[in-house]
Each structure stands twice: as C-alpha cells, then as structure tokens.
Symmetry: C4
Subunit: 277 residues, 4 copies
Amino acid sequence: MNNNSSQKNWKDKLHEIIYEADTPAGKSFDVIILIMILASIILVMLESVSYLNDKYASLFNALEWVITIVFTIEYFLRIIAINKPKNYIFSFFGIIDLLSTVPKYLSILFVGTHALVALRALRLLRVFRILKLARFIGESNNLVKALKASRVKISVFLLAVIIVAIILGTVMYLVEGSDHGFNSIPKSVYWCIVTLTTVGYGDISPETPLGQLIASIIMILGYGIIAVPTGIVSAEYTQQVKHKMPLNTQHCSNCNADNHLDGAKFCHKCGEDLYNE
Amino acid sequence: MNNNSSQKNWKDKLHEIIYEADTPAGKSFDVIILIMILASIILVMLESVSYLNDKYASLFNALEWVITIVFTIEYFLRIIAINKPKNYIFSFFGIIDLLSTVPKYLSILFVGTHALVALRALRLLRVFRILKLARFIGESNNLVKALKASRVKISVFLLAVIIVAIILGTVMYLVEGSDHGFNSIPKSVYWCIVTLTTVGYGDISPETPLGQLIASIIMILGYGIIAVPTGIVSAEYTQQVKHKMPLNTQHCSNCNADNHLDGAKFCHKCGEDLYNE
Amino acid sequence: MNNNSSQKNWKDKLHEIIYEADTPAGKSFDVIILIMILASIILVMLESVSYLNDKYASLFNALEWVITIVFTIEYFLRIIAINKPKNYIFSFFGIIDLLSTVPKYLSILFVGTHALVALRALRLLRVFRILKLARFIGESNNLVKALKASRVKISVFLLAVIIVAIILGTVMYLVEGSDHGFNSIPKSVYWCIVTLTTVGYGDISPETPLGQLIASIIMILGYGIIAVPTGIVSAEYTQQVKHKMPLNTQHCSNCNADNHLDGAKFCHKCGEDLYNE
Amino acid sequence: MNNNSSQKNWKDKLHEIIYEADTPAGKSFDVIILIMILASIILVMLESVSYLNDKYASLFNALEWVITIVFTIEYFLRIIAINKPKNYIFSFFGIIDLLSTVPKYLSILFVGTHALVALRALRLLRVFRILKLARFIGESNNLVKALKASRVKISVFLLAVIIVAIILGTVMYLVEGSDHGFNSIPKSVYWCIVTLTTVGYGDISPETPLGQLIASIIMILGYGIIAVPTGIVSAEYTQQVKHKMPLNTQHCSNCNADNHLDGAKFCHKCGEDLYNE
C-alpha cells in the first residue's frame, strides 16, 4: 500500500505539473510546451515554402521528428497523469493533440499524408488555455456576457445575410451569365458574399450595366447592414458595463444588503435607514 | 348541412396543417416544406454548375419535376384551404410561390425560360416565417424597434452616400478619362460606390496621380462615414435596451416614490414596506 | 407708386414661388426643378456612354440645350426675385447654378469644354435643400449634434490615419521597391491608404515575404482602428439621445422652468413645490 | 560667476524657444520646424517619383542638403539647450531626429544608402507634439481613457484574429494547394488576413468550390467579428462620456439630496436654497 500511495503521489505530482499552472514546475511545463508549439508552427510554415524546403529538407525533417517525439511523450504523459484518461483522450484538446502528432508517423507508411502535419496549427488554440487570456478580458467578463447575450441575434443576422446572398447571387447569375465569370449559382453566391462583406477580391466582377447597378445596391446594402452586428454588440456591452453604474456601494448596517440605488435613503431589503449609522 | 359541416371541418383542418404550426401535423408539414425548399435550392445550384449538369442532366430534370409537382400541389392546397383565396394569391408569399412553380411548366413551351427556375431561391425567404426567426431576436423585439427607429436616418444617410458617389464619380470621370477604365459616368459612379463602401474590386482603379489622390480622399471618407450608420443603430439599440433596466414599476403607497430595484421590499425614500398595501 | 407697389408684389410673389416651398406654386416649382435636375444628371450620364452618344448625339444635344435654357431662365429669375442679388450670386448654390449652366455656352466657343457639363452633378446637392432632408433626421437633430460634437475628434483621427499611411507607405517603398509596383512614395502611400481603409483594390500588392508581413500588420491595424470613429459617433449620439431621457416634462407653475429631473418634487429654479398646483 | 549665470540665461532662453511653445519665439520656432518637416517629406516624395527625379535631380539634391543642414543645426541646438543631453539623445524623438539626418551624410560615403532619407517621414510624428493634437480630442481626454481601458481587450481580440488566421490559412493551404497561388502556409495566412479584415486584394483568390466555400465562411466571420472591437470602444467611450452628465456634485444642506441638474438653484427634493449654505 505504501508503494501504491507513493505511486499515487507521483501521479498527483505529474498531474499538477502537466494540467495546472500554479506551481513553478507547472508554469515551466506550460511555457516549454507553448514555445514548442510556436516552434512547430513556424517549422511547418517554413517547410511549406518550397525554396526553403529544397535547401533544408533534411534539417526540417530532423526537427520535425524531434518535435513529434516530444509531443508524443507529452501525449502519453497526459494520459498517464489523469485518473480517467477518457476525459482527456476524447476532449477537444485531446483530439487536437492526437491529430497533430499522428500525421508524421503516417508519413512513413503512406506517401502524401505529410501535408497533414499542418494540422498542428490547431494546437495554437492551446495558447488561450495556457495564457488564460479570458482572464485579461475583464474580471467580470462583461465582454463574454455581451457576446453570449448577442449570440442568437448575430446568428439570425448572419443567416439573413446568407439568404440575401443566395437570392442576390442567383439574380446576378441570371443577369450577368457565364460569359462574365458568373458561370454557376454557387460561384455567384460566393461573389455576392465577397461583395456584401465588402471584401471585394475582384476575381469576378460585374461587366454589364445592369449587373453593375445591382452590384452597387448590394455594396450599399452591405455597407449599411454592417451597422447591425456592431450595434448589437455595442448596445449589449454598454448594457453589461452599465450594471456597475447606477448602484452605490452602501451596505446596510442592519442586514448588510448591498446594491442600493444611488440616492436611496432606506435599505430596500429591511427598511433600515441607510444613513443612520 | 351535415355534409357541408364536415367539409368545413375538413377545410379547417387543412388550414390548420398548412398555415399554422401549433399542431404536430402542422409542424411536420412546415418542416417537410422547408426541407423541400432547401433541396430545390441545392438542386438549382447544382444544375447551374455546367460539368455536373452535363453528367446528371436527366436525373436533375426528373428531380425538378418531382419538386415542381409537390410545389404545385402545395400551391393548390393553400388556395383550397383558405376561405378567401385572394388573400393568399396576391400576398407576398403567394406571388413568390407562383413564380417559383411556373417557370418549369413554361420551359416545355418556350426554350430558354428554364433559367427562371432560379427564381425558386426567393422561396428561401419563407425560412423566416417557418422558423419564426423574429421570435429569436428578443421577446421585446428591441432590435426591430431600434432598426425601425433608425430606418429614416439610415435611408437619408444612404441617399447622401449615393449623391456623394454621383458627384465624386463624375469628378473622377473628368480626371481619369476613358483611357484608364473610367469610360462613362455611370461606370465612374459604380467605381466610386465600390470605393466608398470599401469593397474595392480593383477591376477599375485610378492611374493618374491626381486620380489616386482623389481616390485616397474617397477611401478615407468612406472609412470615416461608416461610423454614421453604425453609430445610429448602436445608439438607438442602446436606448431600446435601456428601457428594461433592473428597476420595477412599483410605487410606494406612502411617499409615491418609484424607481425601485427589482426585488426591493422597502421604499428607498421613506422606508415603507412596499408590499404591505 | 401704385405701379411700384404692384411690381414689388410681383417680385414678392416670384420670391415666394422660387425660394420658398410653403405655397402650392412654390412646391410645384421645387418639384419641377428637382425633376429637371435629375433628368439633366441622367442625360449627362447617358451622354458619357460612348455607344449611346454615337447613336443619339443630336437628340442628346437638343435636350442639353432645352435643359440649359431652362436652367438659365431659372438662374435669372432667382437674381430678379431676390432683393440683394449678391446674396444669391455668391452663395454656395448660386455658384453651383452658374457652374452648371455656363459650360454648355462655352462649348460653342471652345472645343473640349463640353465635358464640364458634368459639373451639373453638383446641382444634386440641392436635393437636400429641396427635400429638407435634415428635417427627417430627427426633430431635435440629435444626429447632427452628435456629428458636430465628434467632428474635431474624427478630424484628428483621420489626420493620424494619414500620418500613419505616410510613414508605413514610405516603409513599404523601401521594402518592396519599384519592381513590385511600389515605384514612388506617393504611390506607396496611396497603396497604404487603400489597405488601411480595407478597400484593397489589388492593383498594387506586396510580393516579398517581408512586404506581406508588414501589409498584414497594416490590415490588422486598419481593421482595429475603424473601431475608433465608430465608437466616437456611437458614444456621442447615445449621449445626445439620452438627454431626452432623465428629465420630465413638468413645468413649474410659479416660474415656468422646465427640464426637471424625473422624481424632482420642487422646482430647481425657484423652489416652488412642483406638485402643489 | 556672472559669466556663468549669463550663459545659463542664454541656455534657458534657448531651451524655452526650442522645447516650449508658450513664448512667441518658441511658437515661431515650432511652426518653422513643422513647415521644414512637411517640406522635407514632400521633397522625399517627389524625389521618389522617377520622372521628376530625372529632371530635377540636382535641384532636389541641393534642397536635400539645405534641409539636412538645418536639421543638423536643430539637432545640436537641442543637445546644447538641454541640461541632461542624454534625456534628449536617447528619447523617442531624439533617435528619430538622428535617423532622419544621418542618411544624407552616409550617402556621400556609401552608395545606396540614400533611400534611407525616406526615414525622415518618421519626423511627421512630431506633428502630434507640436500641434498638441491630444488637447483637441477633449479636455477630459475621454477618448484616450476609453482607448486605454479597451487596450487589453482589443489586443486579446487581435491575437485571437491572428490565431484564427493562422489556422484557417493552413486549412486553405491544404485545400487549395500551390496551383492556385496558395503556395506556402505564410502566404495562405497572409491571404487569410487579407480576407478576414475585408481588405480583399484579389492577388490570390480561391478557385476550387471547397476553397470558395471556406473563403465565404471566413468572410462572413470577418464581417461579424469586426463588431467586437467596435463594440468595445463604443461601450467604453460611452461609459467615459457619461461621467460628465449634466448633473452637478452639489448636495443639499437640508436633505442631502444630490443629482442636481447643472444650474439648479433649489433642491429638487426639499426645496432648500442650494447656495444658501
């Protein structure tokens, strides 16, 4: 049992280092993993530049293997350190960790799967967890609340944008036709989204006067309706921020209730005179 | 009369299924129609892709006929189920339903009208009615109120944008001339709208130094004035949202003070018990 | 003297018709002028389309002369109808009216001045005066106040954008060089404004990796700082709208002061009890 | 000592002229320097236009030397006039001043360093200091406060945008491949930033249907998330502006009520004269 207990301690310690960031060891582990992730992303990027890959292919390959082995060890350590490995393996980050490690091994067996190494970019999402970025956004998480409150409205809005894009894209397909690049409805809808969102690549652009007129209307529409999501988030966020406002910091001397309105004279919970201390 | 009554019941039932969504049958009908609409849109899209249409032309045609017949049946059921068929036939959705069904029949008689099948995309608008999306936007419809309140202002704003586009487009026509793509005033105005709305296709772009200077001014103008509609919607919506402040409508029976916080039990002005009426 | 008086009356009447819009005659005059302006703009636009002008050159020329003569008569009527003609001749609209009439006459004497007819587009600005569009924006003109209040801030902001564009444009000139289209600093600055304002024509675009990196930073910068003018207008406008809010419509029975805070019991000017009527 | 004192006076006076703008001499100095800076920027711009430089190379060179010598004198005067020259030399503007003067001298010794003269554009930043533009933004600097308050949130937001751009850029590299311009991950990420920020050059654009679908999603994403920084700045600025509400900080000496309107003479709760203390 003593052996079992020491093993448990060892496991607990490992868990603390890998999954938490409160101890110096845990912090160092997180920082090292973060640097490894950034290095692996940069490596994947450099590899994809053909003239660099031609020169340093063997160096890149060696570094790839180093990173892959480190990530593999990390992956198994994470499985060992947790009591219920399923919780990690089938979690969002567990799947990403697996997906970013396996392709390199597959590339030995199958030709052409090497490109999947790029999936490693997904590990960047871990930056949010490691840096606990959400914490920086605000103690009371007003922004997150505002985004949650406006999520449904913005979804409906984006759905409306997509439906408008489908309808206007179809209209443009009928108006411009395949001679001017609008050679199918999906492509027309794609063009319409490019226009509505004010991106405007110019790979396809209307050439008939009527098409340019409709395009102008779509552009002005897109320019006008961008005000909607912006207005929603602004208003909801203003609302969230304001809740800290019209209340004073008075605490009732009788029942200790707070959240009194500015100017209140008596406690709204027990009726005690607030200024009769 | 019994026959008449049973017929009426039958008609009432049909009306409930087709026009309402409160009963399970009505809900199923709406869902089926929605799926049919989505299927018909996807079909129209796939048909417009020439290499798919070359391969599966007969399959697409068969599916077109199935959907057209289903929509035709639905159209006549809607006419039968309603007491005053005119209310449906000349309504917005009634006209769209007709427009999206007729072209397929016309394509037997006239060559070239088949493309009008694409009008079926308009039926997508029904999504809003079926899903009652407006309901999701908010019980009190603050957003809709805000948009209505700012409708006039945004219209005037967009009119101003169009006038500015016409004037600046004319100026660019004089400055750049037809050698650089600005070969008519309507095209120049089109380019100006492309620029003001920050879409920027690049199909036409200024080439003379003076033209590029004016274009820069137009861009900065467009970048600055996008703040106007956004500001309008934000402010109006903030205004609408504020009306549901966490204050209740209670009035103190003793001193008649209002603006009590939700959940307050005693008046904040005189200490009277608010619910001791 | 009777003659003089009747002449004055005649002049007064003309002034009422031309400069005011309260009488039916004045309204009709404004509407006719507005239609003439729109017709003249459309005519100028159609003339600039070369294949239309080739066909209908003589028709267009005839219509041009009709419109020019009508505008000339209007111009002289405006001078006659006003007591101090200078007030009209040197006013903003007076100069525009002259500029939009003269080019047609000049085109007889000088070849090549015909293009200046396009200056007529400036007359479109009269739409604002005739339709009194400002009135639609809001009784209390909150929007206009908000824009005035934020004018200085937005100007400083736009100046900052221009300075940033000059600096970053110069940097891009050094980085990309003339081989990739950045062949002078003014052109680089133009490109930088195109990028910062998220217009993005693509007539010039960075090709070196370093150039693309800097371009990415400029784009993200432009994407982020668009929040500034929007935030300014939103906040100022919210502020303007709010002034209608926490005040009630009570008027003091003693001193007739208004603008009392909601919930005020005594007049803030004379101390009279507001509810003791 | 007398000599020393007079020297000190002379130094003090120089300091007042160069570093301050309260005296007429100080103001004139600032204005002259500002004009010189603008002239030097315009000169650098004109020089970079090759057909102008071919014509006026010697004139430009002469003017360059005049400006360089004036800036050199200014640089040494600034060092002499300050008590601790290090404070100036290693300050932000000190380094910029050096960087904008040295290249011209280097161009005698080394060929090819002349282009660095363009660094002079950085001196434009001095405009902010000379014009004290910050002062125009608002007495209470509400905007600056709002931007400071939202700085962290906007940074986290922009970091999130960059991470999303890296992930989606990598996905597009896998989907589109190097045949359609997406020939390396960094280039794909660059394209993704171009799309997310709604710039949309069109130098690279998706050509496969799947690529265009993903691009559409990225565009709609970019169109939607621009609401976030805008919402943050709007809300924070609204918050800052609200603090200067039209209420004063007066408290009634009788009933201690606050929230009196600016200009109120009597307490709105008890009718006490507010200024009769």
